[in-house]
Amino acid sequence: MDIYLPIAEVAVNAPLIVALGAFVGFISGMFGIGGGFLMTPMLVFLGIPPAVAVSSMAHHVAASSTSSVIAYGRRRAVDFRMGAVLAAGGIAGAFAGVELFRVLRLLGQADLVVAASYLVFLSVIGALMLVESLQAILRRRRGQPPPPRRDRRPVWLYGLPLKMRFPRSRLYISVIPPLALGGFVGVLSAIMGVGGGFILVPAMVYVLRMPAGMVVGTSLMQIIVTAGLTGVLQAGRNQTVDIVLAVLLIAGGIVGAQFGARASSRFRAEELRSVLAVIVLVVGLRMGLDLFLAPDEPFVLMSGLGG
């Protein structure tokens, strides 16, 4: 059941793409991440040009995130106000990121920056998250009480101006850290072609200190906005969105996301985090490996003339 993709100009196996969409959608709904960091490498492996993979995937991310954010919203597990602040930062970041990416492509170093970003961000975050979640699991197993919540209020979180109340998250903090976080994730999403959930989720837990129950739904809300904007910008500026590919991915993704969102309530938060940490770490190391291994083919054709 092969189908020709009019923009990518390659033929793909349709059921395989739908299954891939469903698998990544499940992960997305379960962990509150877009899943782009998993999807992009897999699509490229299947022979789809990287530029088309990155752009069309934004649609899949937006669709499956919408699907699961509604499910979380029903359980009152979305902090819409925090989501809006993060998204505002994300929009500014996405515009800046698209420009930065254009310059990097002109320099011919986009590949390097993408690979290095994957290596650095995924490995560091995966490792930190893994250590933290394993500690939490071990403590629970040994029957130790959770460590006392550090009530030291970091100056940069509480001391900055423009304080705002986030009733759902029971926070009263400055809007500058979440805005900056959203902006940073927006830049990364344009460069790495990902929603940025894998950074957002841990940052919301450890930096913004949001309640764990709110994190996943809120992160997905910010991802919809960032992915939606990136998808439209990619279509408008680069004409690299393949709607046929997007439809196949979405068909699997929206269903997978529903099951993922449902499955996540059956597991403990720290167990979910430890699994996510392992996935993030493995993908990060795998992507970064290419920087260290001697390539079989030292030459690489680059698509298009790039700017």
Partner: protein
């Protein structure tokens, strides 16, 4: 299917007109000529497109029956090639500055009844651009390669062994993608003077107008040439989407994203009951 029938008819014709050329050609035995046709002149790219196979039929007319060789060169629309090389810098494999090759066809196939280097000499093949080693992608590039340091375009003169390594890499990567191919046994004589060749288009073949040059070689020289064109185009739904995405990219982007969001909402609504 009109192509082969025409070709066969033409092949049957020689006995009658053969007197005319031999008359004008004098004792040498007259002019040799070649004729050819494609089974399809248009390839339609639809959702089930998985590449295509075009059959080229033709005939050699030579009253003197001198030893003849047939060379078929198919070139797709020109696509500049941007290529980079991975280099080890401080233990890391990084991309070098990309090099742009202009004049490279998006699709290239050379087929002949025996290896090209047996048919004609180096300079003839080079002049005709016959064979992947003689593609004209080096002609302008040898004098002026565009390298991009930083954001500025810099013109460099670059020749020698290193340059040929790059050029060979272009051909190798294109061959790997099924876009370039050279087949020294690609033309088969099925009967006296009547030949046949197959042109295989991969799924990634660029759309546009292809030009097929059919050359008759005698004694290492091209004595007769025919040119046929082949059009590869997207049709129907695929074409509509392609045109929309390229002519009105913003409305396409907004519509496809709107679809994605509605699909996500619909799935959520559908799953609400259980």
């Amino acid at each position: 299917m009109i192509g082969p029938i025409l070709a066969v008819a033409a092949a049957l014709a020689p006995p009658a007109p053969s007197t005319a050329p031999s008359h004008t050609g004098g004792g040498a035995g007259g002019q040799a000529a070649i004729s050819a046709a494609l089974t399809d002149t248009t390839v339609e790219v639809k959702s089930d497109f998985r590449g295509a196979r075009i059959v080229l039929y033709g005939a050699v007319f030579d009253p003197a029956a001198r030893p003849s060789d047939v060379v078929i060169l198919v070139r797709g629309p020109e696509q500049p090639v941007r290529i980079t090389r991975k280099q080890k810098v401080a233990g890391l494999w990084l991309n070098s500055r990309p090099v742009v090759f202009r004049g490279a066809p998006g699709f290239y196939r050379a087929a002949s009844n025996r290896p090209l280097e047996d048919i004609a000499n180096f300079s003839t093949l080079r002049r005709l651009g016959a064979g992947v080693d003689h593609l004209p992608i080096n002609a302008p590039a040898e004098r002026r390669i565009e390298t991009r340091y930083g954001v500025r375009d810099v013109v460099v003169y670059r020749q020698g062994a290193d340059y040929y390594v790059w050029r060979r890499a272009v051909v190798r990567l294109k061959e790997k993608a099924g876009l370039y191919h050279e087949d020294g046994r690609g033309v088969r004589f099925v009967d006296r003077g009547l030949f046949r060749a197959e042109i295989e288009l991969p799924t990634g073949a660029p759309t546009g107008v292809y030009r097929a040059d059919i050359l008759l070689f005698q004694g290492g020289r091209a004595v007769s040439t025919r040119t046929r064109t082949l059009t590869v185009k997207k049709v129907g739904f695929e074409r509509a989407l392609y045109v929309w995405a390229h002519d009105r990219p913003w409305s396409y982007g907004l519509a496809s994203m709107a679809f994605a969001l509605v699909a996500g909402w619909a799935a959520s609504a559908a799953f609400r009951r259980d």
